[in-house]
C-alpha cells in the first residue's frame, strides 16, 4: 500500500496523519479522563457521558454567541470563560443526576448502564428540541486560526495544538488531584474500602457525588475543546462513546497513565490507517484489534495484581 509514494512523501504523510491522530487523541483523552474517573473509581458506567460533553459544547456555542453580540472586543478570550462555564454546568448537572439516579444504583452496575442510556436519549432529544437537529459550529477567535508551517509539506493547525495542550493540562490536573491532594486520597480510600473509609470519618456519599460531578465537569471541558476542532450536533456525543469506553477499558480502568497511553495508541492507529484504507475499514480494523486484545488480556494494558 506504500507504492507510489516517495520516502519523504511518506514521512510527511505519517507526520500529517500523526498530527490528525493527535487531535483525535486529544478528544479521546478529554472524554476518557472523565469516564475513567467515574468508571475506575466508582465502577459506574455512564452512557450519557457523550451527552455531557455535548452540553459543554453547546455551552461554548452559546457563550461565543453572547460574546459576539455583547462583548465583541473580548471575543479573543471567550473560550476560557466558556470552558469554566461548561465545567460548572456539567458538574452541577452531574451532581444532580448522581443524587436523583446513580446513588440508588451503586450495587447494580448493569442497571446503571441502562438508566444512563435512558438519560442520554432524553438529553439528546432535548438538544434536538432546543438547538435543532443541525450541527452548529462556533467561530474561532482570531489567534486560534491559521497554522504553523513546519516543513513544505507539513503544517500544524493552531486550534489542534491548543486542544492538545488543554487535554494534557487537564490530564495533569486530574493526576495531581487524584494522587497528590487530600481529596484524591479520600476518593481512593472509598474505592478501596468503603466501610473503612466511612469508619475514619470520610463522607463516602459526598465523595461519590463529587467524583461523579468532577467526571461530568471534565466531559464539559472536553465538549468546549471539541468545538474548536469540529461542529456539534445532538448526537455527536454518541458517536464517540464506544471508542471512549474502549480507550478506558483498554488502558486498564484504574490507571490514568494507561488511559492516556491507550488513547494515544488507538488514535494513532486509526488515523494512520485512515490514510491508506477507507475511513470505515480503518475504524473496523482498529476496533477489532482492540476488542481482540481485550479478549486476550481483559484486564487492560496497565492493571495491578491485587490480593483478595
Amino acid at each position: 500500500m506504500f507504492d507510489g509514494y516517495t520516502t519523504s512523501e511518506l514521512m510527511s504523510i505519517f507526520a500529517m496523519q500523526g498530527f490528525a491522530g493527535l487531535s483525535l487523541f486529544s478528544v479521546f483523552v478529554l472524554m476518557a479522563l472523565g469516564l475513567a474517573i467515574i468508571f475506575g473509581q466508582m465502577g459506574v458506567i455512564n452512557m450519557a457521558h457523550g451527552e455531557f460533553m455535548i452540553l459543554g459544547a453547546y455551552t461554548t456555542y452559546l457563550t461565543s454567541g453572547f460574546f459576539q453580540s455583547y462583548m465583541p472586543s473580548l471575543f479573543g478570550g471567550y473560550f476560557f470563560i466558556a470552558m469554566i462555564l461548561a465545567f460548572l454546568i456539567c458538574a452541577a448537572l452531574g451532581a444532580l443526576i448522581e443524587w436523583l439516579m446513580i446513588r440508588h444504583l451503586y450495587h447494580r452496575p448493569l442497571d446503571t448502564l441502562l438508566a444512563t442510556w435512558g438519560l442520554s436519549l432524553i438529553m439528546q432529544q432535548a438538544y434536538r428540541s432546543i438547538f435543532g437537529a443541525r450541527e452548529v459550529g462556533v467561530e474561532l477567535p482570531e489567534w486560534m486560526m491559521g497554522a504553523i508551517q513546519v516543513t513544505d509539506l507539513v503544517e500544524l493547525p493552531i486550534n489542534g495544538l491548543f486542544v492538545m495542550i488543554i487535554a494534557l493540562s487537564i490530564a495533569l490536573g486530574v493526576y495531581l488531584l487524584m494522587y497528590r491532594s487530600s481529596w484524591g486520597k479520600k476518593v481512593r480510600a472509598v474505592v478501596q474500602n468503603r466501610p473503612m473509609a466511612e469508619a475514619v470519618g470520610i463522607n463516602s456519599a459526598g465523595v461519590d457525588r463529587m467524583t461523579f460531578a468532577l467526571g461530568c465537569g471534565i466531559a464539559g471541558i472536553a465538549g468546549a475543546a471539541f468545538t474548536m476542532i469540529g461542529s456539534t450536533g445532538p448526537s455527536s456525543g454518541q458517536a464517540y462513546i464506544v471508542d471512549t469506553f474502549l480507550v478506558v477499558v483498554f488502558g486498564g480502568a484504574q490507571s490514568l497513565i494507561g488511559t492516556i497511553v491507550s488513547a494515544f495508541g488507538i488514535s494513532q492507529a486509526q488515523s494512520t490507517m485512515e490514510f491508506f484504507l477507507s475511513g470505515s475499514m480503518a475504524k473496523v480494523l482498529t476496533l477489532l484489534v482492540v476488542v481482540g486484545i481485550l479478549m486476550l488480556r481483559p484486564e487492560g494494558l496497565m492493571a495491578l495484581k491485587v490480593r483478595r
Binding site: 495491578l304 495484581k305 491485587v306 490480593r307
Partner: protein, 252 residues
C-alpha cells in the same frame, strides 16, 4: 516433618514450597505442610498470615506462583476449580454462601455430584437416589425439618451448616472450612463441633479458626502461620507452649 518431603504418597494432601506473590508481596512464602487421611487439621495465625490464601490456593481460586499441591498423588496447581472439586476437594467460604432463592433441598440437590456438565444439567432428574442422599445429608446438618424452606429464611448458623452440607453431598475426601463458627452462638458452636467430629469419621478436614476453645475441641494437629510461613506445628499443647507462637499470636 521436613524429613517426609520425599514421599508425598502416604499423605492425602502434600503442600510443598507453595508461594504466591501479589506484585512482589509474598502472601504465602515457601509453605509446606502435610495432611494424613482422616485428620482434622486447624490452621491458626494472626490476621494477614495467609491462612485464607492457602485455602484459595488449594481449591484453585488463586493460582500459585510456584510450589506444588499434591492431593491423593494428583497435582492440583494446574487444574481448574471445578476439576479440583471433582477430584475430591470441597471448600466452604468464610461468609456463608448458599443460594438464597433456592430451598434447602434444592441447595443440596444442586451440589449433588451428578449432572455437572451443561447437557447433564439439562437431563438431570430428581430420582430416588438423589432424594435419599439429600435427606441423609440434611439429617447430618440438623436441617431435616427445613428441607422445603428457602435458604434465605435460615439463621446464620443454619446457613453455615447448609454450606457444609453442600460440601458433604459431593462426597469429598478433603473438606476445607474457613472459620466455620464465626458469628455463631455458643449452642451452635457446640453443635458445629459435634458435626465436625461426625464428619471426620470419613473425611479429612482442614479448618481455619480463631476461637482457641473450639480449636482445642476439634483439632488433631494445629499449624500456626505467620507472614506466609509455618511458624509452628503439632498438637494444641505443643503450639500453645511454643515461645514463638506466644510472641506473635497468643501473647496478644
Amino acid at each position: 516433618m521436613n524429613a517426609a518431603k520425599t514421599t508425598s504418597k502416604d499423605f492425602l494432601l502434600a503442600v510443598e514450597g507453595l508461594t504466591v506473590s501479589f506484585d512482589g508481596f509474598k502472601a504465602v512464602d515457601d509453605l509446606s505442610f502435610y495432611l494424613d487421611p482422616k485428620e482434622i487439621r486447624v490452621i491458626i495465625g494472626p490476621n494477614g498470615a495467609g491462612k485464607t490464601t492457602v485455602l484459595d490456593l488449594i481449591c484453585g481460586k488463586t493460582k500459585a506462583t510456584s510450589g506444588s499441591i499434591k492431593f491423593a498423588g494428583k497435582e492440583l496447581t494446574r487444574l481448574k476449580e471445578h476439576q479440583i472439586v471433582h477430584s475430591g476437594v470441597g471448600r466452604k467460604f468464610q461468609t456463608p454462601s448458599v443460594f438464597e432463592d433456592l430451598t434447602v433441598f434444592e441447595n443440596l440437590e444442586v451440589s449433588y455430584p451428578q449432572g455437572h456438565s451443561v447437557m447433564g444439567a439439562l437431563a438431570f432428574k430428581r430420582d430416588a437416589q438423589v432424594i435419599e442422599a439429600v435427606e441423609e445429608v440434611a439429617e447430618t446438618i440438623f436441617l431435616s425439618d427445613a428441607l422445603d424452606q428457602p435458604a434465605s429464611l435460615l439463621s446464620h448458623g443454619q446457613k453455615q451448616w447448609l454450606e457444609i452440607g453442600m460440601l458433604l453431598i459431593q462426597k469429598p475426601d478433603l473438606l476445607m472450612l474457613d472459620e466455620p463458627v464465626a458469628g455463631m452462638s455458643v449452642a451452635e458452636r457446640q453443635k458445629t463441633a459435634e458435626l465436625l467430629r461426625r464428619i471426620t469419621k470419613d473425611h479429612t478436614v482442614l479448618v481455619i479458626e480463631h476461637d482457641m476453645q473450639f480449636v482445642g475441641d476439634i483439632a488433631d494437629r494445629v499449624t500456626v502461620m505467620h507472614q506466609g510461613k509455618v511458624l509452628s506445628e503439632g498438637s494444641i499443647e505443643h503450639v500453645k507452649s511454643d515461645p514463638k507462637v506466644i510472641e506473635v499470636y497468643l501473647g496478644h
